[in-house]
């Protein structure tokens, strides 16, 4: 039994099921990110935790108490909305104090808390302004301030950064992480941005089609995606998913991939040692495991060097992405910046197969 328990929860609208039997247990102080494309059920789940939508079946408990039939205001949660949801007719002070007022907190105590929170978020100078006079980042802070005054058991964030411009988003992301480190409150955070998920969370639930595809630490999710959906969704550029065949060469299990010109390359694949020889698999390999030889991770024990013809070269400042045809798909490799690779010419690649995974092409789940 965790601090926040989602126990076998489903949600249907009439005949349409938007969330299938979902099990998530969150420990106190964790930062859980629900991530997935739109329509995956993540916001529905968050709204059910908040009490803004009914649970069709299953139970939600917070701090040991089943809250299915508890009003949102009595769940001891706080929520930060995508649009910030600041009351336009009230000042910042009014916005922050409204919740406490509703909960019958005496005025002196409210003032004290407002001052504390405003100080923490550096919005003291904004307290007498109306939301309409604030910038996006300032509104974001006020929305968090409003949530902070509640001393909630659980903080809920519903895509809080998606309305900010790119630079501010990165800044606020850091602020939220700092805030979590400082306060240690349990957080459930919904986003469709996989980078936010990876940077902020202590654990991630990747969702798709009303199901949790994988629940794990950012490292687990990134290194060992449970299936091809997770592999493709998390990480940018996405993991290369390349049809391949397993063959044993000189006693070692190898992945055999078609190259653009019709020939094949054979790469030793120790992780697949226990899989069936001759099986068709989908090889999952991240761009950073397909590098120029000088850029490879020298500590890895499964490096293979080979030469491949390059189709496209895309310099991206700190790195250069190169595209090659592999297994009938476009595979992207990550070279260091300033290297001589040219489109239409072959280049040396190093595959780090210790970081590669294998998926079943039928079920799309990870085999190794």
């Amino acid at each position: 039994m965790g601090f926040l328990d989602i126990d076998n929860v489903t949600k249907s609208y009439g005949a349409v099921k938007v969330l299938n039997e979902t099990e998530i247990s969150v420990e106190e102080g964790e930062f859980l990110v629900l991530v997935g494309p739109s329509g995956c059920g993540k916001s529905t789940l968050l709204n059910m935790i908040a009490g803004l939508e009914d649970v069709t079946s299953g139970d939600i408990s917070i701090n040991g108490r089943r809250v299915n039939d508890v009003k949102p205001a009595e769940r001891n949660i706080a929520m930060v909305f995508q649009s910030y949801a600041l009351y336009p007719n009230m000042t910042v002070r009014g916005n922050i104090s409204f919740g406490m007022e509703m909960h019958g907190v005496p005025k002196a105590e409210r003032e004290e808390k407002i001052a504390k929170v405003a100080d923490l978020l550096q919005i003291t100078n904004l307290l007498d302004r109306k939301p309409g006079q604030l910038s996006g980042g300032q509104r974001q802070r006020v929305a968090m301030g409003r949530a902070l005054t509640r001393d909630p058991d659980v903080f809920l964030f519903d895509e809080p950064l998606s309305n900010l411009d790119a630079k501010l988003r990165v800044d606020m992301r850091t602020e939220i992480k700092k805030l979590h480190q400082k306060l240690g409150t349990t957080i459930v955070y919904v986003t469709h941005d996989q980078i936010e998920a990876l940077t902020l969370s202590t654990r991630i639930a990747v969702m798709f089609g009303g199901n949790v595809q994988q629940l794990g630490t950012p490292q687990e999710i990134y290194d060992n995606p449970a299936n091809m959906f997770v592999a493709g969704f998390m990480g940018s550029p996405a993991m290369n998913l390349l049809p391949a065949r397993l063959e044993r060469v000189n006693g070692a299990m190898c992945a055999v991939l078609k190259v653009g010109d019709g020939s094949t390359i054979t790469v030793p694949f120790p992780r697949a040692e226990d899989l069936t020889e001759g099986a068709d698999i989908v090889l999952g390999i991240r761009p950073e495991a397909m590098t120029d030889p000088e850029g490879a991770d020298r500590d890895s024990n499964a490096l293979t060097e080979t030469e491949l013809p390059i189709d496209v070269v895309e310099p991206a400042g700190s790195d250069t992405y190169v595209t090659v045809a592999l297994g009938g798909k476009d595979a992207i490799g990550r070279f260091r910046a300033h290297n001589p690779a040219k489109a239409g010419q072959p280049a040396r690649f190093t595959f780090d197969m210790a970081k590669a995974v294998a998926f079943d092409p039928e079920t799309e789940t990870r085999l190794a």
Partner: protein, 307 residues
């Protein structure tokens, strides 16, 4: 409206194209024609108002001798005085004063109640949605469009049953019922665009159904409340059918009294008094229109364009 993209785009190029014309050479003549046409239409729309106003300030003989279009040569407020407090309306020579008051006593409560109900309905229909709410709204909306002739007979009986027939209260009752459809329409459309996240945030903050309405929605409903009040005020003030059907001599609204004044077949037709009375009946709504025309137009548009 002045910087609308359409007008800019339409007039880009020549800067001043004549309506439907292609002339590019002389810029000014079509432009002048355009203003002359617009000016003539101004005269067309203002003419009846001029006729009412100028003739209400003349003695009767200036009108009957063919001087309707002329300005008064002998300015007098006698017709106004007569229309206000002396003229024979129906059975009594009271002028229109008591009926003017009746209209106010009828309009103010009716508008207030219908607006409040409409605001609550709009709130429920957009922020507390339930199965079948759109159909229910459609059924309420249909009330805006029924020909009121269809309810005249049963309403006459219902007012009798409620013991308020022939009273101002009865008229208030009727106007509230058939005004709620409009106010619900206005508030529902307005609240539909009101961010639902605010309501959710307030729920999490611990506000209940009425607190959310009172503290979050109402303070942000200024514009639509003005639109709604103006629309209802204009409609109810200007109503004739219900007034004629459900009022007695002492509870008649202004429109009915004015019509009685004008249609009464006894004695000399005092056109100047009729015109003065007509302006009196028009003044409150005209005043509202001039002061808050923007909202009046918005109300008209909401009532038709966005059902």
């Amino acid at each position: 409206m002045a910087t609308a993209p359409t007008s800019e785009a339409v007039t880009a190029g020549t800067g001043t194209p004549p309506p439907g014309g292609k002339t590019r050479a002389s810029v000014n003549i079509p432009r002048i024609v355009l203003y002359v046409i617009l000016g003539l239409f101004c005269i067309y729309y203002l003419l009846p108002l001029y006729v009412m106003l100028s003739n209400s300030l003349k003695p009767l003989n200036e009108i009957t001798s063919g001087g309707m279009m002329a300005l008064p040569s002998d300015w007098t407020l006698a017709a106004w005085r007569s229309a206000w407090s002396e003229a024979q309306v129906g059975v009594a020579a009271t002028g229109l004063k008591p009926y003017f008051a009746n209209s106010f006593f009828m309009v103010i409560p009716a508008v207030a109640i219908a607006t409040l109900l409409g605001a609550l309905n709009g709130y429920v229909l957009t922020k507390w949605r339930f199965r079948g709410d759109t159909i229910l709204f459609g059924l309420i909306l249909f009330g805006c469009f029924i020909p009121f002739q269809i309810v005249l007979i049963p309403m006459a009986r219902a007012l009798g049953f409620l013991n308020i027939s022939g009273t101002v209260s009865g008229l208030i009752f009727v106007h509230v019922i058939y005004g709620v459809s409009f106010s619900t329409l206005y508030f529902r459309n307005y609240y539909a665009a009101f961010p639902t996240e605010l309501v959710r945030a307030a729920q999490i903050d611990g506000a209940g159904f009425f607190t959310i309405f009172y503290r979050i929605l109402l303070p942000n409903s200024g514009p639509i409340a003005v639109v709604c009040v103006i629309w209802l005020f204009t409609n109810i003030w200007n109503d004739f059918l219900f007034g004629a059907s459900f009022s007695d001599f002492d509870s008649q609204p202004m429109t009915v009294a004015l019509n009685n004044l004008v249609q009464s077949s006894t004695g000399v037709k005092e056109y100047n008094v009729h015109f003065a009375g007509a302006i009196m009946a028009a003044l409150p709504t005209l005043f509202v229109y001039i002061v808050a025309g923007r909202f009046f137009v918005r109300g008209l548009m909401t009532g038709s364009v966005k059902g």
